[in-house]
């Protein structure tokens, strides 16, 4: 009679069925196999170490990067899961990396929690996990902990991902939404609205064939270059949901200043403009996943612009406007036509106009 050894070396489990079932969320062997096969395999660490319930960090090592922790979380529910220029996995890594980076932090560690609808193919999960791993490598972060839940058909839309991130803020960096002052320059790092247009186009319900790709990208390097070249930068934020218009309103409100942007200087791709014309949307409110709004004192505007343009993810950077002494909280745009209008917060979702 063979006796099982008391302690076995940890071996990676394997899934042998094509689709995820409720059994994969049950906490037993099936779940371990799914986690191993899909996530541990892709994220490529701790192969020999036992999986603990938490990741553990050496504080001394963290402190080498700076003097404050940055901690953020974001959920991703994008439809479709794959779109031109990216997928939900790439988005989930970039989104959290960027949320850390815009605070002046060096992004270091990510968690990955997934909620999977039963019936999703295991290959699809593998593909998404590999995309997350590749993006994490590009962004210089490790995915160190995670969770998997499987829910009944109809309880979620195929796959939802939540990533939480830890980074360390460099010493001396102090960025804040309340710090904009009249005279400051407003910069963006390139063409606006690509992600929103790509997603709307990829959904297919508008019956529009659009060649627009999402701008989804990790911006940690770009922001590091920016902060090195222009240490006086007041504030950086990624212009995701709600677009640049929403970020500008948040800045104007928190800093009690007015902001005026110039439509002519605002970089928007011709295809995105045309897409918005047809659907009656405003590109200023379209989501971006690789674009930041930067507020910088006038003396450092040129240096900031040059630093952004020197990086491949900032080659289309532009100074789009100025912080002014106008009515606090008001964002206006000088239109391409020579007029002026208010750029307010969006009330709900942008809905296409009838005619």
């Amino acid at each position: 009679m063979n006796v099982a050894p008391f302690a076995r070396s940890r071996q990676l489990g394997k899934v042998h069925v094509p689709t995820v079932t409720l059994a994969h969320g049950g906490g037993g062997k099936a779940m371990k196999d799914l986690v191993d096969d899909v996530f541990v395999e892709a994220f490529g660490h701790a192969l020999s170490a036992p999986l603990e319930d938490q990741a553990r960090f050496d504080l001394g090592q963290l402190a080498l990067h700076g003097d404050r922790l940055a901690f953020t979380t974001d959920s991703f529910v994008v439809d479709p899961l794959f779109f031109p220029g990216g997928d939900i996995g790439k988005l989930a890594v970039c989104g959290t990396v960027n949320d850390l980076a815009v605070g002046g932090a060096v992004p270091l560690y990510l968690s990955c929690a997934v909620i999977v609808e039963e019936g999703v193919s295991v290959d699809l999960l593998r593909q998404i996990a590999r995309s997350m791993a590749a993006t994490a490598q590009q962004a210089g972060v490790s995915i160190v902990t995670g969770d998997t839940k499987v829910v009944q058909r109809g309880a979620c839309d195929r796959l939802f991902i939540t990533t939480t991130g830890i980074g360390v803020i460099r010493e001396g960096v102090d960025l804040g939404v309340h710090r904009a002052r009249p005279g400051d320059a407003v910069l963006v790092n390139g063409l606006l609205g690509d992600h929103g247009a790509a997603i709307l186009g990829a959904r297919g319900d508008m019956a529009l064939d659009s060649p627009i790709e999402s701008d989804c990208a990790p911006l940690h390097e770009l922001i590091a270059d920016l902060l090195a070249a222009a240490p006086g930068v007041r504030f950086v934020r990624d212009a995701t949901r709600g677009g640049v218009a929403t970020v500008l309103n948040e800045i104007a409100d928190a800093s009690r200043v007015a902001i005026e942007i110039d439509e002519e200087q605002t970089p928007i791709r011709e295809q995105v403009k045309a897409f918005c014309e047809i659907l009656g949307l405003d590109p200023l409110y379209l989501a971006n996943e690789g674009k930041i709004v930067v507020i910088v004192p006038p003396g450092e505007a040129a240096a900031a612009l040059a630093a952004l343009r020197a990086h491949p993810l900032g080659s289309g950077a532009a100074i789009v406007g100025e912080v002014t002494t106008g009515e606090a909280g008001l964002v206006t745009m000088r239109t391409i036509f020579g007029g002026r209008r208010i750029v307010d917060m969006l009330v709900g979702e942008q809905l296409p106009r009838i005619c």
Partner: protein, 376 residues
């Protein structure tokens, strides 16, 4: 964008503004009160705000933002009917996007969707017909809304459904016609309008002849206008020129799109499928004779009003709402008692706060430049 940027040229705008200024200086009525020009169409209202045109015009010109936003003028009772149809378990309710937010007396279509109704946004009625073909066991209802601009596409979709025998498709018809409403505005005793910018896309279908009565009976000039900012400035200039010369004519600035005779295949489809209703209710304006259309008996099997029992309850506009006076140019949006307080785009009381084409929503969101922002 080619064919659009040409109509957004800042230098040409400056020249036109100068021409408008010198023309206004020669018009007598401008010495005692502002000249009121109504843009009938919500598309114009949207462009005027989007490009900040009001702030570029001389003080002596006041633009009055008219009733031409079909989403805005839809009465609450009709939205309730939509919700009642949409909430039937056998129904897929399809609609243009911006109609989803219009409040009914209890909820909007957006809320009905959140509560479980199968409400889907489409960009064309043909998309709704395609959904009907893909779901033969469900009833697919298209929310037909809009003026003559969208009326033909709904009519052609019904004709298509007829020819391919799709029986699980129907239209909840709320199409309206602008001409009786312009007449109702012209008949109102407190009217203060000196001229009109005519609706470009409606005219692309109906042509310019239906407006002749405005010039002959009411002696008001109208210029059918395009939607780009230079179109609008040029059309304002043309209206002013008529006023200056004491003329009242129907002119066509948008000739690159609008044939004077309209679009005859579209008109044929419209008259084949629809007939005038005796009256139709407009939010903010009340009941207006012959201002709506319904499906003819021959197409009754595509009529959601006949297919389903709808509540058809008339809901009065809120008493505090002054949309009617704003529409007629008697007061400006921000002079309304509830503007920005009880009535906001988040919780609209009145028609004009509902869609971004509504005058009040446009003022609230884009700002009346003269009232809020000093022009440098």
């Amino acid at each position: 964008m080619k064919y659009l940027d040409e109509f957004r040229d800042r230098e040409k705008a400056r020249i036109l503004i100068r021409e408008i200024e010198s023309l206004v200086a020669t018009i007598d009525i401008a010495r005692t009160r502002p000249i009121h020009i109504m843009e009938v169409c919500g598309g114009h209202t949207h462009s005027i705000f989007r490009y900040g045109i009001e702030g570029m015009l001389p003080e002596a010109i006041e633009l009055v933002h008219g009733p031409g936003c079909p989403v805005c003028v839809l009465p609450m009772g009709r939205v309730d009917d939509c919700v009642a149809i949409a909430e039937r378990p056998d129904v897929i309710f399809t609609t243009f996007g911006d109609a989803m937010r219009v409040p009914g007396s209890k909820k909007s279509l957006l809320q009905a969707k959140a509560d479980g109704a199968d409400v889907r946004m489409v960009y064309s009625p043909m998309d709704a017909l395609a959904i009907a073909r893909r779901n033969p066991d469900r009833e697919v209802v298209f929310f037909g809304i809009g003026f003559e601009t969208t009326m033909p596409s709904t009519a052609l979709t019904i004709l298509q459904a007829e020819s391919d025998g799709t029986s699980n498709f129907s239209v909840f018809c709320n199409h309206i016609t602008i001409v009786p409403t312009i007449k109702a505005i012209l008949d109102s005793p407190d009217l203060q309008l000196d001229g009109f910018l005519g609706p470009g896309h409606v005219s692309m279908v109906i042509g310019t002849a239906p407006y002749e009565f405005i010039a002959t009976f009411y002696r008001r000039p109208m210029v059918v206008a395009g939607f780009e900012p230079l179109d609008i400035l040029q059309s304002i200039w043309m209206v002013l020129k008529q006023i200056r010369e004491g003329r009242a004519d129907i002119e066509n600035q948008y000739a690159r799109i609008v044939p004077d005779a309209g679009n005859s295949p579209a008109l044929q489809a419209v008259s084949r499928v629809y007939e005038l209703r005796e009256f139709f209710e407009w939010r903010g304006l009340g009941s207006i004779d012959h201002s709506g259309v319904k499906l003819r008996d021959a197409y009754g099997h595509f009529d959601a009003e006949r297919k389903f029992a709808i509540p058809n309850v008339k809901i009065a506009d809120p008493k505090s709402c002054q949309c009617g006076e704003v529409l007629k140019g008697v007061i400006k949006p921000w002079q309304c008692k509830v503007f920005g307080s009880a009535c906001t785009p988040e919780t609209p009381l009145g028609a004009l706060m509902v869609s971004s084409e509504g005058a009040c929503a446009a003022y609230y969101q884009y700002g009346g430049v003269k009232s809020h922002v000093a022009v440098a």
